[in-house]
Subunit: 321 residues, 2 copies
């Protein structure tokens, strides 16, 4: 199985590549890695890897790669929610038009029906929500990013129904704990309040402890991609956009898990600094999904925030300070 991965240099992309090299899916025979920026080298890989650097919003970038007829295409490339909101044209160009161009390049290859795994997001949903969001809840994005992802899901379902591809769209929860540095995303505090204290650093909590949100670890996200790459798609039927399983937790529950793993000293590093701007954004976010459909299709996720924290320490090779 030759896999084309678009968005290979991002956080999830790199972890996915490393996972495939460490523990290949059955029949894995090669990787084609594409991103807007060069990714790491994989000198110890025992399968052929090619690297491709281009802007996915440019014309004709996918055709030469698709002409090599990879057995599977994994599409993770996007600009984030904040940038899609501030730069309207770029958001539609990168998050929607490029996705459509990719799908059309696949469609126009004669006699070619690859597995296509495309990252979507819970941002396709927007408040107000019921307490637990059902599997058949309507698409009501409240950002241009969510709109672009929802449109991509609809295309993927139609192109799959018409036999141009064998697509699966994965609506990812908020990824927590994101490794690396804090970023400017409104959601970054969910990771910061765990990652920074675990490293002996202070972190700011801008919302109330009672805020509830929907999370999955980077390890779970890689697991979603691996499963989507190899699963039998027949039982999915035509509704190919799947809300991935996650962990619904309050900030208070996150903090208690931190206390269990790293003690009161770590918890004391969280500084409460309410930010009405972030509080307002977060109040429109989903708190809990009925994820039984994805679970019945074999997707699994983290059991507890304690497990998320412990896996973070293990995956990032960290020791408690």
């Amino acid at each position: 199985m030759k896999v084309l991965l678009i968005g290979a240099a991002g956080m999830i992309g790199r972890k996915f590549v490393q996972s495939l090299l460490d523990n290949p899916v059955p029949g894995l025979s090669g990787l084609m890695l594409a991103d807007a920026v060069p990714g790491p080298d994989y000198p110890d890989a025992n399968i052929p890897i090619t690297s491709h650097t281009f802007n996915i919003a440019d014309e004709g970038v996918f055709e030469p790669l698709i002409a090599e007829r990879p057995d599977a295409v994994v599409h993770l490339a996007a600009i984030v929610s904040g940038e899609a909101e501030t730069d309207f044209d770029k958001g539609y160009a990168v998050n929607f038009d490029a996705t459509r161009n990719l799908f059309d390049a696949i469609r126009l290859q004669e006699g070619y029906t690859p597995r296509v795994v495309s990252a979507s997001s819970i941002a396709v949903f927007g408040a107000p929500f019921p307490d637990t969001i059902p599997g058949d809840f309507h698409l009501t994005p409240l950002t241009s990013y969510g709109t672009q992802k929802a449109m991509g899901e609809l295309l993927l379902c139609d192109y799959t129904r018409r036999g141009f591809m064998d697509g699966v769209a994965l609506r990812l929860p908020t990824i927590c704990i994101r490794p690396g540095k804090a970023n400017l995303a409104a959601s970054s505090f969910f990771s910061n309040i765990l990652r920074e204290p675990l490293a002996g650093q202070e972190a700011v909590l801008p919302v109330d402890d009672s805020v509830r949100h929907w999370h999955a670890s980077p390890r779970s996200a890689v697991g979603f991609l691996r499963h989507a790459l190899t699963m039998d798609t027949t039982p999915i039927g035509p509704r190919r956009a799947l809300t991935m399983p996650g962990l619904s937790a309050t900030v208070a529950e996150q903090i208690e898990a931190l206390r269990e793993v790293a003690g009161d000293r770590a918890v004391a590093l969280i500084r409460r600094e309410p930010d009405p701007f972030i509080e307002k954004i977060v109040s429109g976010w989903a708190t809990r999904f009925d994820d039984s459909r994805a679970r019945s299709l074999g997707f699994t996720s983290d059991a507890s925030f304690r497990e998320i924290i412990e896996n973070h320490l293990e995956d990032e090779g960290l020791e408690l300070v």
Copy 2:
């Protein structure tokens, strides 16, 4: 109020124009009528009317019309479900790209935020359905037409949320009784079995009497457009795609209404000729919606099939034979 109507020469477009001329909405000051084919002349109109014939899938066709800054834009133009299914490229070009081009022409006019009323369809939903489809049911189209309409709804909501327009998308029920000749649409029998016997002609019923479907008359459809043109949109909030109210009825109920209006002799003109192909298509269609949201926003629809039949006779100037 100057209104640009795209799709003015179609069945609903013509009835809408006539309605606006007979009974103008408050402040109506002019009509700009566009379609791929020339429509009727309106020599007795007492407001200025301009006519514009072009293919909406062509580049740059909307800009000159939008440059005149009509106060409202009503977009009814589309190719039908069957053609969008057989001609993939044309379907996306006409039903999606042209809609996006129209919305972008509006977006790129500085300081211009017109009311935009766009026709959508219950084809954005696909089986399996609950018995009554709730207002927050997810978008699961099973045709390319439904996919294109769902993507257009998402664009309209995003462009409205961002302040580029004041949009409302109307998910129209199946229109019954369509005047004129029978067409090749799988749904045409719903109209045929009433219209033809009312005119003393035989009609074929290809499905079982128990088949239930969701209907609105041409008169109701015109009413939806009139209301959407003038309503206060503030109470709608960001969820701008509205499932229009309709009448849920079985074929048996349609036939009983025909008997009430036109007697046994008319009913005897319906010839049962089961068609497994049409039965299969129709089995995937929606039967009943919870339309309370649209009703609470002031949209109204037909009370009974008897009323639909009587209004058909009146609107088409027909007398029972």
